[in-house]
Symmetry: none
Subunit: 116 residues, 4 copies
DNA sequence: GTGGTCTAGACCACT
DNA sequence: GTGGTCTAGACCACC
């Protein structure tokens, strides 16, 4: 068993921004705060903040216009896709955790359907 | 948003042992490894290892016999209770995460059905 | 016959604090001295002092606010419960000691009722 | 508050022997084990064992016949007195402890009645 | 051998 | 400043 696997800060911030997209707190086309502002908001290094936007861009969830700023994808489908992916991961994780408890596939199925 | 959240080692080890109890890897009445062995197994200090067993004992999941060793509860009900509690926590967490994504019950239901 | 029986320091300090709660020297909601001060007051290690507060918290006789301090329970019922428990233990111990002297249950009953 | 007041071994042994006298386990005139045997029985130093008998003799609870051994007082009154004294001390201690808790006579009375 | 207690001293997160 | 955690190493009582 591994102790303490520290999740990298940039991944944590990415996850936070994704949550805001999926939950509707952010909308397609929204302008994101500058890298500098982001670094201050989260109390992280500007390089780390920059990495956050780079990563999001790689996933086609945002794009950058030199000299203007960073903007969220303008396509609502990207938001829908993200939401769906995150939901699937939550469910998948719950299923896996329950399986590790020794619950059968059938038990897990029933439990999730009743409780979620 | 809060970053990181370093989970104390002793809680991580506790969780690991609990998983082994819930999943059936451990059985009621099993003798646990000695405090010193546990500390070596997980690469932690004997004091920390001792704390692990103390906390488990506080939750009535194990008991100790001075000079002999530490043993898991002999009552299967304690195991059943643990399993139930852990399952509930998994469900609770998933439900909370999904709610934060803004998914309706209907959407969740559909997702679950699709995954089958 | 067993000799001595070294009572752990942390239990002795706990007992001292409990006495102060039960006797009214402490009041519900009172702020307790810091872990470090307690360690100095009793000439014990900060870790041991910390254990004292932890145990008291486990018994719901106090609670802690991170970065602020440790406070006695704000519910007078907890104090009343403690007082009652301590009184019962005193009586129980006296009864047991008298029984060991060879006094009958009836003799003990009369003696306690007349003398206490 | 004082920590850890270690009760001297010889006092503990004396108390043990007195208990046996008061409870009837020992009878007036009984021959006590030799100093050497006593030291072995309790795992203590022969000098300490000797001190035990000296102290008991000082309280006129036993006497020594050179070359023969140590014997308990032959007068039942001494036993009765001891029993009374020990009972009184138990009562006195309980009363003092209860007083320190701030219990009124009325509260004590109620407690005693409840325990029956 | 076992667990229980204690000290010394360090680092952390939170206010 | 607060309490929480962790390590290192010691001594004890029990079996």
């Amino acid at each position: 068993m591994k102790l303490d696997k520290n999740i990298p800060i940039y991944l944590q911030v990415i996850d936070d921004l994704k949550s805001k997209m999926a939950s509707g707190e952010f909308s397609p086309g929204d302008k994101l705060v500058s890298v500098r502002e982001l670094s201050i908001e989260y109390g992280i290094n500007p390089n780390t903040a920059s990495r956050v936007y780079n990563e999001l861009e790689r996933e086609e969830l945002c794009f950058t216009r030199r000299g203007i700023g960073t903007f969220l994808s303008e396509d609502p489908k990207d938001f829908a896709r993200l939401k769906r992916e995150m939901a699937e991961e939550i469910i998948s994780r719950a299923r896996s955790d329950l399986a590790q408890l020794g619950l059968s596939r059938e038990e897990i199925k029933i439990l999730l359907e009743e409780e979620l």
